[in-house]
């Protein structure tokens, strides 16, 4: 058993590109659900909107990558308005149903054959972010990989991480400032009781819309980061499972706390990567026959195990620490009164 590989995966993935993308996406979801009480079950739709905004600008419109970033943000704003205008005056579950449907509709639409010239259909869009990697400060000839302690990254990923985590930090600070401001107080009051907020003169509809747009744009930027890192926009990476993984990350960290998306994402990716690598290694030992016989576990299906492990971990978390890492049990108990 090679512990070096296991630990390298554990540490590298804990702050890797995936962890960065999910942390950022979860910040957006936290603004929706954690602070405003908006049920968004289609967060991946915002990620797709951002991703296709930048991808389509380069691929279809033949414009610059940088303009694509702006278009990505505009796509997210448009999606938020489209979802919010009809549903935000209604009960919160209407938004939940609408978001999950819209995100799936979006995925199916972009992979539709008729959209091949615009979205690349099922092949997607590739190699559109050269402008971004042209700025890579780590990309030096002969030095394509960096290692420190158990952290090991390719130059391309390292550059992505530096930019991405800086953005995460920026969004965390933005989030922190907003929720300590009177604006954030209104959001929280709407989460607690919309009618009370309205009786005190707050335009609940407008605030919910602002929160939906803000969280949606942050989710969209996360989507851009994800596809830029891979230099590839693929419709099927934006499937509904992603939304639920973002929810998982948020719940691990603790809903409605500023740092929880970051903590939740780091823990999720460290554990999942470490565990999967551990299982792979285990299959490589003389235990492999036993595993195959008793658990029907082989190198072919070991990846599937991540969901089993994760479901179990989530159950344990709900059992022992339902408020997540940063959440407070006292606050949670208030829900039952």
């Amino acid at each position: 058993m090679n512990w070096d590989i296991i630990l390298t995966q554990f540490f590298s993935q804990s702050i890797g590109v995936n962890a960065m993308v999910f942390a950022m996406a979860a910040i957006g979801l936290n603004i929706h659900f954690g602070y405003t009480g908006l049920l968004n079950f289609g967060h991946v739709g915002f990620m797709a909107a951002g991703a296709y905004g930048v991808g389509m600008t380069v691929f279809w419109l033949d414009q610059s990558f940088w303009l694509g970033l702006v278009v990505g943000v505009l796509f997210c704003v448009a999606l938020a308005l489209l979802l919010g205008v009809p549903t935000l005056r209604l009960r919160s579950d209407y938004l939940g149903i609408t978001t999950i449907a819209a995100s799936e509709a979006l995925r199916i639409f972009v992979r539709w054959r008729g959209n091949r010239e615009r979205t690349g259909a099922s092949e997607g869009i590739n190699d559109f972010a050269d402008d971004f990697f042209a700025l890579n400060i780590f990309d030096k000839p002969g030095n394509q990989s960096y290692r420190f302690f158990f952290f090991e990254y390719r130059a391309q990923d390292l550059w992505m991480m530096v930019v991405g985590w800086s953005l995460v930090l920026l969004f965390v600070l933005l989030n922190w400032q907003l929720v300590r401001s009177p604006w954030g107080r209104v959001l929280k009051s709407i989460r607690e009781d919309e009618d009370a907020a309205r009786a005190l003169g707050k335009n609940a509809y407008s605030y919910k819309m602002q929160a939906l747009v803000l969280g949606g744009v942050i989710g969209g930027v996360a989507g851009m980061m994800q596809v830029i890192a891979k230099q590839s926009v693929q419709p099927d990476t934006f499937n509904p499972v992603i939304t639920f993984l973002i929810w998982t990350v948020l719940i691990i960290g603790g809903v409605g706390k500023v740092w929880s998306p970051v903590a939740g994402s780091i823990i999720y990716w460290a554990l999942i990567s470490g565990l999967i690598t551990f299982m792979r290694e285990l299959i490589g030992t003389d235990l492999s026959d036993t595993l195959e016989t008793w658990l029907n576990l082989s190198i072919l299906n070991v990846d599937q195990l991540r969901f089993v492990i994760f479901g179990f971990t989530l159950m344990m978390l709900m059992w022992f620490r339902p408020q997540g890492i940063f959440g407070s049990r006292e606050e949670m108990a208030l829900d039952d009164r």
Partner: protein, 323 residues
């Protein structure tokens, strides 16, 4: 509490032998006279109703709120059908009526939380038909809810601060720059603490509102409403579930509002409370205004007694009619 106070009223009424009016008022002295602090609260509009016609929809000397032909139907049920009601500025007006009379629904219609099928409402002489509920706070109207709405995961102090008007930090872009809203926030906090002090809630300022008892929530909700510096305060059963001692202090606060020149409309089932603090009483039954008058006149009004008894005690009513 609602049921409880209702049955108390009814029990008192049932005991009546000659005139139910006397009985209605019988216990008022006992329950009403409050502590010394309350006796000293002046009533700036004393005697203003002396020449007001005690009939539904009658004109008042200085009207703050006027509702005409307000109708609200839920399917086949006409919950509210108010021909006309006019509210005197600066007075405490009680809205009473049996359970299901339509008081809360009428409140919702007046405050923009529900839209009437027909009718017009004027606040300070301008129409507020179709005006969104959140805009009415800016126009000086604020309400509380029958089912108290404490914002559980906000502290009591934050609950209070939320009520403040003119906080530039409630705009997204301004919120990003603390210096742009810090000054106003400090003033708001001072105002909130002063109000909490007045309601004897200072010790709870930093607790989550969700930890408060039912009565304490009523206090916070009322105090929070006052943070909007309202002209017109609409309270839906502010004393429901509040213990007698606290009721006394709540009554004092309501009288204090009148002394400050604010207008109060409140829904209440307890006739002792109504007689103690209201200047004028409006009675609703089955969606209609069936009577208006001074508390004493209402207590002696046969239509009111019928409305209360009729909905719960048909047999007693027949008995009284035979007499």
């Amino acid at each position: 509490m609602t049921d409880n106070s209702d049955s108390t009223d009814s029990a008192e009424l049932e005991q009546g032998d000659s005139s139910s009016g006397i009985v209605l008022g019988a216990t008022a002295g006992g329950g009403g006279a409050g502590s010394a602090e309350m006796v000293n609260i002046p009533n700036p509009i004393e005697g203003i109703f002396d020449n007001v016609d005690p009939t539904p929809g009658s004109k008042k000397p200085d009207e703050i709120l006027v509702a005409k032909n307000v109708v609200r139907r839920f399917g086949g049920l006409t919950a509210v059908d108010v021909a006309e009601v006019r509210i005197q500025r600066g007075a405490i007006t009680a809205l009473i009526g049996p359970n299901g009379a339509g008081k809360t629904t009428f409140f919702n219609l007046l405050t923009g939380f529900d839209a009437p099928d027909e009718g017009h409402v004027e606040l300070n002489g301008t129409s507020i038909d179709g005006v969104a509920s959140h805009k009415l706070a800016a126009r000086g109207m604020v309400r509380t809810f029958q089912l108290t709405k404490a914002l559980s995961k906000l502290t009591v102090l934050d609950n209070m601060k939320l009520g403040a008007k003119d906080q530039p930090g409630e705009k997204f872009l301004t919120a990003l720059f603390t210096p742009a809203w810090r000054g106003r926030e400090n003033k708001v906090e001072a105002q909130a603490r002063a109000l909490l002090d007045r309601f004897n809630m200072t010790h709870m300022a930093d607790e989550f509102a969700g930890t408060l008892s039912g009565g304490q929530r009523k206090l916070v909700e009322m105090a929070r409403a006052l943070m909007t510096e309202p002209e017109l305060v609409m309270l839906d059963e502010p004393m429901a579930g509040v213990n007698p001692a606290l009721t006394q202090s709540l009554l004092g606060h309501v009288k204090q509002l009148r002394a400050e020149g604010r207008t109060v409309i409140f829904v209440e089932h307890d006739m002792d409370v109504v007689r103690d603090i209201s200047d004028w009483v409006v009675v609703m039954a089955e969606g209609k205004i069936i009577a208006e008058g001074t508390p004493d006149a209402i207590a002696a009004n046969q239509a009111v007694v019928d409305a209360y008894l009729g909905s719960h005690h048909d047999t007693d009513l027949t008995f009284e009619e035979e007499e």
